[in-house]
């Protein structure tokens, strides 16, 4: 293979690309950068050395280093538990990098391709991100083209080399490496290679889709299942501390999670719906910080299948409890926080194996801290008074100590409450809380992320309430909680994500880091913990949907990621069963008397048009699936035909071919006869058949009167595949001897010519 040729560079690019999914799992971007640097370094090396590989000593040192790195990754001290298969992937990636430096032959190129394929397989095992789909897509287009060109060029070189060996020409001393002319690649590319690649990729995808849908699932639990357990899920989250001394808050668009909300079996796609995905609650304020005592909640193992909960901590749910189901796809890693609406009473997941549920403030938490994770939570509708009363039994004041706040804040709270109600009356707590919320939301206070520096001798909340009156959500929420607590109204600060961005096409909400929010929960006697949001900005969505090109692109990518997660990564037996059921239901329309089509045309139209009530894009999808189905049938038919032909070829009777029958060994005497006759002057003209020739000679020459009989024997041996028996053989021998030894025997005479 030509170093630094197009094939070489493409190969290295593809190999580096195939490393991406496994690197992305543990965010090993440093290692990825190293691999890229090594790849570029190999190209530089080849350009400097004139196509010579790195000395084997250096390669061995490389490999040894990679081995040591593997051992360190597997058994070295780490904060997080080691995942051996990912460590192995890192080692394999480093091996590929070593191989870059000695890629001079087709064998080396093939080895790097195999390593890339192995990395892709490991990536498929451990990765769940859209990045894997992108890599597969590139492999199926550029990679496929490269593979086809590579195989063709390699085959041509192999055959050329074989022929060279055959004719004893020595190679050019390059240890069997034959450089291939770029003309081959040009010839290939110029012959519609892209069309071929496209057809191949489509066929492969189609077959992969069939297998993907039809393959049985849920049979895991063996050796690879255990390996799969080694690959943890991962989560995102908010810290355990809310620090008001944060002056560098910015709008971070990093996606955190996607959530589908479902109420009563219907997805919630309503812009007026304001989800508050809770993560943490804080009750104790101290010196500008809300710090949370780690919970000692019981651990539960969430089941993998979602069921409607019948009980909650041993007690039956009240009748008519309306639940909101949340399907959550966490996207980035975090510190174990699990988000849910208030109040989560059921969780199920494939990815989260151990979850802690704090029944006092209904906070979920998990030990896992890696990778993406998918889970389903069901929360009770807090506005249901029956349920609120039911939940109240589980809720109590926390025993984490009281907040420490200044006298000025206490005084301000009391003065504020004089005009609203009596805080000692628990029935007036809600009114007072609403009044505080309204006060903070008034135009007197301004929402901003540009914080002023607070003097060192002042408390943050105090400074916000009386001096600056400008701040972000944590200031507003902290102020309200402290005011409530100053009036002995139980209140707590809640952190999490609020609002989100509705993706109408995907029917999900996308939460980004910028949607992080803090709000207040106040304990009301009849309603339990009730949400209050004193932050002015949080009441209005930021200008509605941003319709700029960039925003739409980002939403489209989000949609793709969502579909990738829901359709591919999370596809399971239940999903397949749902698809089967829907297809069966639809097909049943063709057989039921009421809905069955009356004619073939109607049947065809119904089948072609698909189920009624589809949106335009759903109908386009239906037609696409129909097309795939037809193509799949054609392919299947073609496979059957080819197989049957091959079986018939192998086991059937040999097919008679219209061809020139080669001279049978037993009929070769006729060639000898012709030579001997030619030496006597009787040359057989091409225009006459053997029989015509024999008859002509027998008629003109007495010595050759037996020639027609010998010709018949020739016919029998040549075309009838008969043996020449001993009697005939001895006669022929005598005849040949006469022709050879008797100069006058059968001699052509002038009279014969005439």
């Amino acid at each position: 293979m030509k170093p630094l040729g197009g094939l070489h560079i493409t190969l290295i690019c593809l190999a580096v690309l195939n490393m991406l999914p496994t690197m992305e799992v543990e965010q090993s971007w440093g290692l990825m950068a190293l691999a890229c640097a090594l790849a570029v370094g190999s190209l530089v090396w080849f350009s400097r050395s004139g196509g010579k590989p790195l000395p084997s000593v250096a390669i061995n040192i490389f490999v040894l280093t990679a081995l040591l790195f593997l051992l360190w990754e597997m058994f070295g001290p780490h904060e997080e538990p080691s995942v051996h298969i990912i460590d192995l992937a890192h080692f394999v990636a480093l091996l590929a990098c070593c191989k870059f430096y000695e890629c001079t032959s087709y064998r080396d190129a093939g080895l790097i391709t195999v390593i890339g394929f192995l990395l892709m397989a490991i990536g498929a095992l451990v990765s769940a991100s859209l990045l894997f789909a992108i890599v597969i897509l590139i492999d199926l287009t550029f990679g496929l083209g490269w593979l086809i060109v590579f195989h063709t060029v390699r085959m041509e070189a192999q055959i050329a080399e074989r022929q060279q060996r055959l004719v004893r020409r020595t190679t050019d001393g390059t240890n069997g490496h034959v450089s291939t002319a770029p003309a081959t690649v040009k010839r290939l590319v110029g012959r519609g290679l892209s069309r071929v690649v496209l057809v191949n990729a489509l066929y492969m995808l189609l077959i992969a889709a069939f297998i993907f849908v039809l393959m049985p699932r849920g049979l895991y639990g063996g050796i690879f299942g255990r390996m799969h357990d080694l690959v943890p899920g991962a989560m995102t989250g908010i810290g355990d501390v809310v620090d008001l001394d944060q002056t560098a808050i910015f709008e971070d668009p990093t996606p955190v999670m996607k959530v589908q909300f479902e109420r009563g079996g219907r997805l919630i796609v309503d812009e007026s719906f304001e989800p508050y995905m809770r993560a943490q609650t804080f009750t104790r304020y101290y010196n500008g910080e809300w710090r949370r005592t780690p919970i000692t909640a019981p651990r539960i193992v969430p089941p993998t299948k979602l069921r409607r909960p019948r009980s909650f901590f041993g007690r039956a749910l009240p009748d008519g409890t309306e639940l909101i189901t949340q399907k959550v796809w966490l996207e980035t890693r975090g510190n174990g926080k699990i988000y849910a609406l208030y109040a989560p009473i059921y969780i199920g997941s494939d990815d989260l194996r151990v979850v802690k549920l704090d029944k006092r403030d209904f906070i979920l938490e998990s030990d896992n801290s890696r990778g993406a994770a998918h889970y389903i939570v069901q929360s009770a509708n807090e506005r249901n008074p029956d349920l609120a009363a039911w939940l109240k039994d589980y809720e109590s004041d926390r025993s984490e100590g009281e907040s420490k706040f200044t006298e000025s804040v206490k005084r301000f709270a009391r003065e504020f409450a004089i005009n609203v109600g009596d805080p000692s009356d628990i029935n007036q707590h809600e009114r007072i809380a609403r009044a505080i919320e309204a006060h903070l939301r008034s135009s007197e206070y301004e929402y901003t992320l540009r914080m002023q520096r607070v003097p060192s001798d002042r408390d943050w909340v105090e400074y916000f309430l009386f001096d600056s009156k400008r701040g972000h959500c944590e200031y507003f929420a902290s102020s309200m909680v402290l005011m409530c607590q100053a009036l002995d109204i139980p209140a707590r600060l809640v952190s999490g994500y609020q609002g989100g961005e509705l993706n109408v096409a995907g029917e999900y909400y996308r939460f980004r880091q910028k949607d992080a929010h803090a709000w207040v929960e106040v304990f009301l006697p009849n309603k339990g913990w009730t949400t209050f949001d004193p932050t002015p900005a949080s009441t209005v969505r930021d200008g509605g949907l941003d319709n700029s090109f960039w925003a739409r692109t980002v939403r489209a990518i989000d949609f793709l990621k969502f579909r990738w997660s829901t359709w591919i990564v999370s596809f399971d037996r239940e999903t397949r069963k749902t698809i089967y059921d829907e297809v069966r239901l639809w097909l049943a329309n063709f057989t039921q008397e009421e809905t069955a089509p009356r004619s073939f045309g109607e049947l065809f139209t119904s089948f072609f048009y698909g189920p009624s009530g589809l949106t335009w894009w759903q109908r386009a999808g239906y037609w696409f699936v129909l097309l795939l189905f037809v193509v799949g049938l054609v392919l299947l038919l073609r496979v059957i035909i080819i197989l049957s032909l091959l079986v018939r070829e192998r086991f059937g009777k040999p097919v008679a071919h219209e061809r020139v029958v080669p001279r049978q060994p037993m009929a070769r005497f006729y060639d000898r006869l012709l030579v001997l006759l030619a030496s006597k002057g009787h040359v057989k003209p091409n225009s006459s058949t053997p029989r015509e020739f024999a008859q002509r000679l027998a008629a003109t020459t007495d010595d050759l009167r037996d020639l027609p009989e010998y010709t018949d024997w020739f016919y029998a041996a040549q075309y009838g595949r008969q043996e020449i028996d001993d009697r005939r053989e001895s006669r022929l021998s005598r005849f040949f001897k006469l022709l050879r030894e008797n100069a006058g025997f059968g001699q052509k005479s002038r009279s014969n010519d005439r």
């Binding site: 012959r191 895991y220 299942g225 070829e649 097919v655 061809r659 009929a667 021998s733």
Partner: protein, 418 residues
């Protein structure tokens, strides 16, 4: 048991398949990897791995499905010489046409199936892409290490496109036979001079002179044994030493090439010596025919061949063909045949007797031939005279030398006997 044997016989009976498919080594490896991925995917229930498994299966099936139609519409024509010489490269030319109207055939391997008793590599050629209706001609250099018949029975058009996991092939019947002549060397000495020396030194009757077919050739000094009648007295008187008027046969000089292809007892390397003998005979025949002389051929064995002297290029292939197809597995002496055969006077000429080794039969045959045709010079591989007369290429260089294929099977031997 009988049923099983019949079944086995039926399954393993020789068939001549016209289409077929076989996995390559990389294809088998890929299949193994795919199986492992599939098992892992089902066991671990990982959807992405399952998708990768599907893609691998897809690649395999695509490799299975594509390319058949291209193979079906390929036609090949072979342009090959009638004969070639051992150790000399020759070109096989193939004209390949894609008769399909809209499909391009890609990565085609053209293999011409060469058959013989020995395992010889078949010539292979490669075509990157052959467009619809396009015709390409490829030249494949080829070289044979043995003499005898080289049979091309059919073409195999193969394609591993696109991933070379499975190779599909189709056989196109097109039979052709070539004769590979023995290896040719060169003569160290002019055969005319060699023959003249033979005549002058052997005191035998000069048949050409008897027939009055001599012509003046030159004058040289007298040597012991020269006929006194040829002394050029005038030149001798002038120079002071005896000079001889040298004469030579006219342009129609006539030679006999006698090949004794017998296996002689005591010969340590009969096959090697036979090849040397045949190569030397072929070299001699070619050389003298190039000089315009007439050459006849006498070969013992299966069958006995006596080809009367002839000249010209058209005579060359006939002689070389006989030498190429000579078998050495016999003990048929030459002397009885020579004695019983009538030899017309016009066939007389100088004889070069090539034999593997010397024994009584050789001496008897030489005596018989001398009586029938004229003077005989015996050339035996390894002998000083042989090396002085003929220089052969190093036979050991072609280490893969095999036996002549005409002796391959009993049927072939029987046919050759006829």
């Amino acid at each position: 048991m009988m049923l099983l044997q019949r079944l086995q016989a039926w399954l393993t009976r020789p068939t001549r398949m016209t289409t077929g498919i076989r996995p390559t080594l990389s294809g088998l490896g890929f299949l193994l990897g795919t199986t492992l991925i599939g098992l892992t995917a089902v066991d671990a229930d990982v959807n992405l791995l399952l998708m990768l498994f599907g893609l691998c299966v897809g690649a395999f099936l695509v490799n299975f499905l594509l390319g058949w139609r291209c193979l079906r519409f390929i036609s090949i024509r072979r342009i090959a010489p009638d004969a070639a010489v051992v150790g000399q490269q020759f070109d096989l030319r193939y004209v390949i046409t894609n008769k399909h109207r809209w499909i391009t055939a890609r990565a085609l391997i053209i293999e011409d199936e060469a058959h013989s008793s020995a395992s010889i590599p078949s010539p292979q050629g490669f075509i990157t892409a052959l467009g619809p209706g396009e015709t390409q001609t490829i030249n494949i250099p080829y070289l044979c290490d043995y003499r005898g018949r080289l049979t091309f029975s059919s073409f195999r058009v193969m394609s591993g496109f696109p991933f070379n996991l499975l190779v599909k092939w189709r056989r196109l019947i097109d039979e052709r036979e070539m004769v590979i002549y023995p290896m040719l060397g060169s003569l160290r000495a002019d055969p005319r001079t060699f023959a003249r020396a033979l005549e002058t030194s052997s005191n035998s009757s000069n048949l050409g002179r008897q027939r009055g077919e001599e012509e003046y050739f030159g004058i040289r000094e007298y040597r012991h044994g020269d006929s006194l009648r040829k002394i050029h007295w005038r030149r001798s008187a002038r120079t002071g030493q005896l000079m001889i008027r040298e004469t030579a046969a006219t342009a129609t000089q006539q030679y006999w090439c006698v090949v004794d292809s017998r296996r002689i007892a005591g010969d340590d390397d009969p096959a090697g010596h036979l090849e040397q003998v045949l190569s030397a005979a072929a070299t001699f025949v070619c050389a003298v025919l190039e000089q315009g002389a007439s050459v006849g051929l006498i070969c013992n064995g299966d069958p006995l061949v006596i080809l009367p002297p002839g000249a010209g290029r058209s005579h060359r292939p006939r002689l070389l063909r006989e030498l190429a197809l000579r078998a050495g597995e016999h003990h048929d002496g030459l002397a009885p045949h020579v004695r019983s055969h009538p030899w017309p006077a016009r066939w007389h000429g100088a004889c070069f007797y090539f034999a593997c080794a010397e024994d009584d039969d050789v001496n008897q045959a030489v005596a018989a031939i001398e009586r029938a045709l004229g003077t005989v010079r015996v050339l035996i591989p390894g002998a000083r005279l042989f090396d002085k007369f003929i220089r052969l290429p190093n036979l050991n260089a072609t280490s893969e030398r095999v036996e002549c294929p005409v002796n391959a099977a009993p049927v072939a031997a029987k046919a050759a006997l006829l």
